[in-house]
Symmetry: C2
Subunit: 492 residues, 2 copies
């Protein structure tokens, strides 16, 4: 039997790292901070991509592709964006290697092949895209532009963790251009709601929709909307952001359009994105000490069938029934794998599929054949039951739907239990240390207070929730008046 996973209570961080690797989701590569997304992990990401892409297209967006590289000078155009992104980045300075004359078989940078202007590997694409939109937009007739891009980006992070923070990651970035402020604001909200809908109803992860404070805002945005999720260890995770960019990029890149009233105005903009980071959120919302737990909607394999047998004859008899069940399940739209490998024992397979979070496991032995039944094990509850073959397909489809709901409900319950209203700073610190989760507290609205709280506790304001109630109160730190509570948490 392979070694057990480190348990969550023992070391949450270690549990996460082990799980990612042992469930075959991803691993570190020879390149510092860059991960390899393995086929099983990538299949989950593909399901997420496919669903999101459908949603983007259904709301009128189109995909396109912009260059990987951004010339340094384009980054300089939008000062805050440059400040936020152009700093920790991969910089291409040369375009050729040559044989090292001093060492046979070794390569060296060719000093003759220095670029006139350095190229930054995109950490985000506002600069290159707005430099392009400039040529696409003359009149209000050219608006809106609703474009999304699926791409890789690079941010030179010092401390990296698989999926959560990697130097290179995969994401989608939407970049839209509008004739009016209102339209751009509507788009920002539309997308933040679309993200919330996707993450909640497809990934079974509950989120809080809100707006970031100035210090947590995207570099170059007027407002950053976000969805915040809560992980099992009480830390928050920003699952997606949608930025209202105002006219910042249009001004930086001089993008004006002839309005329908005959005037000339700068274009209004939004940008928005989610990334492979969502894989981290997925893992840390549902999984347990046995391994990954996957909501059925994004499980690459929803059902696995494992034969329990001695000898070829039994395997053949079981195989016939298994193939029949497999066919029926495929017809019912359920993805299914029949694992008849003969070099590993059923117990090994059970463990492996538990580790990989396959939602339902069907085991069939000789006795089950006699009784016309199979054993069905459910990954989230780890419960088993015997189901007559005649009722199996119904049972499976119903159970898969139920699992999707149950996982979401459990996550909501956990999240709701971990939103704690707090009115003084001692309680704030105690709750943060002992319980974790979101702390709903009054804040005086100043950067100074936010900074001081962060410095003292490592908690940041995750968002000002859309649904925050108007409530007179005093800032938990400064005692200054406040009109609503905001959500604090330590975060990934």
């Amino acid at each position: 039997m392979p070694k057990k996973l480190t348990s969550r209570s023992e070391d949450y961080s270690k549990w996460y790292n082990e799980l990612v690797v042992r469930a075959d989701l991803a691993e570190n590569s020879a390149v510092r901070g860059c991960m390899i997304i393995k086929p099983y992990g990538y299949a989950i990401w593909e399901k997420m991509k496919e669903e999101l892409d459908k949603k983007f297209k259904a709301t009128g967006h189109q995909n396109a592709y912009f260059p990987l590289f951004v010339p340094k000078s384009l980054f300089e155009a939008e000062e805050k964006n440059a400040e936020g992104f152009a700093k920790e980045c991969a910089v291409v300075t040369h375009y050729r290697l040559k044989n090292n004359p001093d060492e046979a078989g070794k390569l060296m940078v060719d000093p003759e092949a220095k670029l006139e202007e350095e190229l930054v590997v995109r950490p985000t694409s506002e600069a290159i895209i707005w430099n392009t939109y400039k040529n696409w937009i003359q009149s209000y007739r050219d608006l809106p532009i609703l474009i999304n891009q699926w791409a890789n980006v690079v941010r030179w992070e010092m401390r990296t963790r698989l999926f959560l923070r990697t130097a290179e990651f995969l994401w989608q970035e939407g970049h839209t251009a509008h004739a009016t402020e209102q339209e751009a604001q509507d788009e920002t909200l539309l997308i933040n709601n679309l993200y919330a809908d996707f993450v909640e109803n497809f990934m079974a992860i509950p989120v809080i929709k809100g707006v970031k404070t100035e210090s947590e805002r995207f570099a170059g945005a007027v407002d950053t909307h976000c969805i915040e999720a809560l992980m099992q260890d009480g830390k928050a995770l920003q699952a997606g952001t949608s930025h209202f960019l105002g006219q910042n990029f249009a001004k930086a890149f001089d993008v004006k359009f002839a309005t329908s009233e005959g005037g000339l105005d700068h274009v209004w903009a939004t940008s928005w994105g989610v990334s492979t980071r969502l894989m981290g959120a997925l893992i840390m919302t549902h999984s347990d000490d046995h391994g990954l737990v996957l909501p059925p909607k994004l499980a690459p394999i929803q059902v696995v069938i494992v034969p329990i047998y001695k000898g070829k004859e039994q395997l053949e008899a079981i195989g016939q029934v298994a193939q029949k069940i497999k066919k029926q399940l495929l017809n019912a739209g359920v993805s299914v794998k029949f694992d008849d490998r003969d070099n590993v024992k059923p117990g090994f397979k059970f463990n492996d599929y538990e580790l990989k979070g396959v939602p339902l496991r069907i085991a069939i032995g000789p006795k089950d054949l006699e009784k016309g039944q199979v054993e069905v094990a459910r990954r989230d509850t780890l419960t088993k039951s015997f189901i007559p073959q005649s009722e199996l397909i119904d049972h499976i489809t119903t159970t898969l739907a139920d699992m999707q709901d149950t996982l979401f409900e459990n996550a909501i319950r956990f999240r709701d239990e971990h939103i704690t209203p707090v009115d003084d700073f001692t309680a704030f610190q105690r709750v943060l240390e002992e319980k974790g989760g979101f702390i709903a507290a009054h804040w005086d609205g100043t950067k100074a207070t936010e900074e001081a709280i962060k410095k003292t506790t490592k908690a940041t304001i995750r968002c000002i929730p859309y649904d925050a109630q108007a409530e007179e109160g005093k800032c938990v730190f400064s005692g200054q008046p406040s009109t609503q509570r905001v959500l604090f948490a330590k975060a990934y």
Copy 2:
């Protein structure tokens, strides 16, 4: 009316460049040699991706993702691969920019942030992938590995052309590992045949399947199989390659496995890819002086409906019929757009959809309403006919299928007319200059002759076709004996 396209007879190269930009497929960016794939062009690429991805999965392949960067030292491992690829490439040397103290608002490379080892932006991923497979493969039980990756790659090309040769391009690269030579050979062939099937039956581009000569082989391969297409100007275009890598990469990265017989052997490998270059092949196979011509299977819009009207009342009456037709077509699985823009004339729309290669155009005017008919214009033949509304859906689906076939047949006819058997070098040069296309000629099998012919005529050996007949002859250049003809051509 917008300016007409340059005609193909006038200047083929100019026609191509204009078409790509004016049909909204792609354009050059601020980064030398990197293109922007616009939404319309990207929608075609997406259709290609989707179809190919389906075929890869149906043959047992899985997608994964490997890092964008390859450490220089990994490239050094496979000498020929390094020779072929690590030279003209984008090299990341630093990981930070900082504010330029001498110039406010400007950024500069931070000399303190120099990487210990330079990173190459992947021109192809054999090195990083085989360095990874090394850890994945211990026993024959771990084989085969059948992985594909959709990714961007960068090759620092000096002369670039949209889609055909760009510094950054999008592609898929398959990388497989096998226990036996035979299996790897079979995989190489399977994929080359898969590519041919896709390009012929989805893109309506006929190809010749064959094997490359040593000098045209992929750097690091034992054999390169390919599919070669012929463009309208008589130049060939390599549309896809599938490489049998032997044990070269396994040896370079020391990847051994325990065989089923208890021995230890190096792993056998293949790699294969097609890229956005296929967009160039698509354009140059089917299009005409009016613009793009698209096989219906990859047209983002298969049918456009244009109303011909005066005044709101007529538009409303026509709109009702148009919406009904649109709905029926969507139900029949046909993608359709109703263009009721009121700021441009029908003639402008006609031109625009011709330029963009929309296969069928339906025009509806007041007289058509009276007669219960519509006018259907077919993009490939530019013919028009009046069709009763009652027969329309059948007519459309039949015509779309017919267009797909006709485009393929026309391209086959053109290609076959442009394979010229030639037996002496004077004729070789004359045919190449006057007629172009493939020249089927005897070759003595030496690199020296191949090189001399290339130097004299710019023609290269495109491939040794799978179906080449055994035939005694004399090399067209050296007069030395030869046993079969190979295909020469100038190529993109």
